[in-house]
């Protein structure tokens, strides 16, 4: 089994004001997607979701507000899965709800210390 990190990105959307029902509509696909990976016993780490707020530190003490200035898509979060081959991890990534909101999923092999 190899581990792969699925990295989610999306265009910055600002924070829309949502009703609890709308929030639930957004939450459920994520819960079901993660639950579906866990049900295949392929989840290593559910990972984290990152907030929009942030800063970027550059060389020479330059700090810019947020990650937004130079890139259109920002990092939203990640999840780590374990599969036999990258093709299986890509299959899992195809179900990621971020794709329904115009985002992308990058699938990257995690380098193992014990090869």
């Amino acid at each position: 089994m190899k581990e792969f990190m699925l990295v989610f990105r999306n265009a910055q959307s600002g924070a829309p004001r949502l009703s609890p029902e709308q929030m639930q509509e957004i939450t459920k696909p994520w819960q079901d997607w993660i639950g579906g990976i866990a049900a295949q016993n392929k989840l290593v780490e559910r990972g984290n979701r990152l907030d929009y707020e942030g800063a970027t530190v550059h060389a020479g003490n330059v700090v810019t507000d947020g990650p937004y200035a130079e890139i259109k898509e920002i990092l939203l979060g990640y999840t780590i899965v374990k599969t036999d081959a990258i093709a299986d991890a890509i299959e899992i990534a195809k179900g990621c709800p971020v794709l329904n909101f115009g985002g992308t999923v990058e699938v990257r092999t995690v380098v193992q210390m014990n090869m």
Binding site: G35, A39, Q40
Partner: protein, 411 residues
């Protein structure tokens, strides 16, 4: 008025474990067999005497008096035993005759709780822990244990003997673990109680009485932990809530022949409302603190199963709880149940591709689930999956259930 025939087995169950626990605590775990012998002797004498003379007014007091005398006699007559053990007795006394055999309710409860920690010890396998718990903590006969495990008396005897040997070698003490250890040790105790309950609830044994007793005993032991201050932690209460919710369906889930009635086909009027209320009570108590254990989540799932109405809300909640349970701990059965809940919540067409990803070949429940999902969508495929399930199923109960579903589909 109870007749002796009904009274003695009942008393045996409840009092055997109390007498054994108190005496083992007094003698030390290395002499657990002597404690068991004294308890058995006491009951043999009771059975014979009461058979001839009738049942005394206070049978429990009679048993305790006899057990005390037997214990003292044993100490008196077994010089080697008394030379070795008496000096080391936890309550040191100058004279043998002053040894206090304390069968007060408090000492009985404490001894049983401490015995629970001694038996549910990580040094022995979960199976051995359950066996010992049934024998020593619940007063089950070897034959009943063999029946519950679908095994035979010799195998069970050997298993219990080896487990006791191992605990002796580990120098296990009949005592509460230190405060720093209690959380870890409690995990093992809870796992054993959980398995003990499941052994009764999901057992393949046809003996319904024994199966129900296993569940009730698991609940009784869990209750002791809930009533005791240092062990009354949220996961302990959550596990008791889980057991109450499950046990509420006990009458509804088997027919007169001991065949399993599936959840969807149960007569909901047979569900025990009182146990459901008790489950809710312990569930509320379990909500204190921030910890959410797997028992909390399983109790939540069990709670939603006590709701009769087959609503979308019910199945959405069950689905999300299974999603969370799988994040704590993967198990094939949780994966299958999660997919079933997904079908009930979002429809079979959503669940089918998810089910096919589970890849649980060799598991008859997996093919059973696929059979259910394809029913009314592609009956030919459903039949094919159910036939595979039938080939893989081991117990008669499972085979009968699958055959019935096959017949229904092929009509």
């Amino acid at each position: 008025m109870q007749t002796g025939k009904e009274l003695i087995p009942h008393l045996f169950r409840t009092e055997y474990s109390k007498i054994t626990a108190v005496l083992t605590k007094l003698f030390g775990f290395e002499h657990v067999e002597i404690a068991e012998d004294i308890a058995s002797d006491t009951f043999l004498l009771a059975a014979e005497t009461w058979g001839i003379k009738g049942i005394p007014e206070n049978p429990t007091a009679w048993l305790y008096a006899v057990a005390k005398n037997r214990a003292k006699d044993h100490l008196k007559h077994h010089q080697i035993f008394s030379d070795k053990v008496t000096p080391g007795l936890q309550t040191a006394h100058d004279s043998l005759y002053e040894i206090n055999i304390d069968l007060s309710p408090k000492n009985i409860t404490d001894s049983q709780l401490q015995m629970m920690f001694a038996i549910c010890h990580p040094a022995i396998s979960a199976e051995a822990q359950i066996g010992l718990a049934l024998r020593i903590l619940c007063g089950f006969g070897i034959e009943e244990i063999a029946d519950a495990f679908l095994s035979n008396k010799e195998t069970i005897n050997k298993r219990l003997f080896r487990a006791k040997e191992k605990l002796r070698n580990e120098k296990v003490k009949i005592a509460f673990p230190d405060a720093s250890e209690i959380n870890d040790r409690l995990q093992t105790v809870l796992t054993t109680l959980y398995l003990l309950f499941n052994e009764g609830y999901y057992s393949l044994s046809q003996n319904i009485t024994v199966r129900k007793d296993l569940c009730l005993e698991a609940m009784r032991l869990n209750f002791l932990l809930v009533e005791n201050k240092s062990t009354a932690l949220p996961p302990v209460k959550a596990l008791l809530a889980l057991m109450c919710f499950h046990a509420s369906r006990f009458e509804a889930r088997t027919n007169e022949d001991g065949e399993l009635i599936l959840y969807d086909d149960q007569d909901t009027s047979l569900w025990d409302r009182e146990l459901i209320e008790q489950g809710k009570y312990y569930m509320n108590l379990a909500a204190e603190g921030n910890e959410i254990s797997k028992y909390h989540i399983e109790a939540g799932i069990a709670y939603w199963h006590t709701v009769k109405e087959d609503t979308s809300k019910k199945w959405q909640n069950i689905l999300q709880l299974y999603n969370r349970l799988l994040l704590i701990e993967y198990s094939p059965i949780a994966a299958l149940n999660r997919t079933y809940a997904l079908a009930k919540a979002d429809g079979k067409m959503v669940a089918i591709p998810e089910a096919e990803k589970l890849n649980l070949a060799n598991n008859h429940l997996y093919y059973s689930l696929l059979g259910f999902l394809y029913s009314d969508i592609d009956n030919e495929k459903a039949v094919c999956h159910l036939k595979t399930a039938l080939k893989l199923a081991k117990s008669e109960t499972d085979k009968v259930t699958i055959e019935k579903r096959l017949l229904g589909l092929m009509k």
